[in-house]
Symmetry: C2
DNA sequence: CTAAAACCTGACGTTGACGTCAGAGGCAAG
DNA sequence: CTTGCCTCTGACGTCAACGTCAGGTTTTAG
């Protein structure tokens, strides 16, 4: 697979894939003329990288954790990093849930006020 | 209250408070000599702003939504923005939960491998 | 064969929420 | 009065994950 197809299937830009390669997150074979050639698994890998980015991990951290995601093996230090990121994500979820609940309350109040405005006699 | 005290109580930097003012998110009285003077409610307001930033809202969006968070009143357009942000946060929570679960699986696998290494005969 | 589409490297641009520095003034304590 | 901390404005620096452009080569479709 060439870079455009991988990008389309993974839902990212071509530029992003070259950036991932630059960061060591994605490797590619090269054809005789120098074009990147990816195996099928590359799409899943890119999706995973995107998922970790979305969870707030940096390129460097993803680079440290990607191997053990695939192998299932980790040094104690890497294991500690994994646990730390997991806990951070958990805390982030808790905070987001609180924010969502707060917005829900605001929406409920604002909806009530709009309803009031539509029922001026009540 | 002066800016340093507000910053300390809200857990942010002095620079951040000036930036919030620049963005219209926080207003302050001025003393005769030009120093900012904040009411007590400013600390809560700053904490709320931080919470919304953490949920991925931009300054501009926060500026649009802050009034109705306090008044409970919103135009239909603002109400739609509120709902959209709420749904986005909800989706973000779902994604983060999936990522956390994936990390949990990796941690379980890696922990097992470490345990194996400690029990070479098993 | 040719034109369009896709790919390459290299490099500068973008965005948001501040950090940081410079230079100047304000304020409570001894 | 002066010492030391706090505050002011203004302006440039940062950082990450790309976007975008230039100028050139390669692949593909007709």
């Amino acid at each position: 697979m060439r870079i455009g197809e991988v990008a389309a299937k993974a839902g990212v830009s071509v530029r992003a894939l070259r950036y991932y390669e630059e960061q060591g997150l994605l490797t590619a074979e090269r054809s005789a003329s120098g074009q990147r050639t990816y195996p099928d698994g590359a799409v899943d890998r890119v999706v995973l990288v995107q998922q970790l980015y979305a969870a707030g991990l940096s390129s460097r951290r993803i680079l440290e954790l990607l191997p053990c995601v695939y192998t299932g093996y980790a040094t104690p230090q890497t294991l500690a990093l994994l646990a730390a990121e997991r806990d951070r994500i958990d805390a982030q979820i808790t905070g987001l849930a609180a924010t969502r609940d707060r917005l829900d309350a605001v929406i409920a109040a604002a909806t009530a006020s709009v309803t009031d405005a539509c029922l001026p006699g009540r």
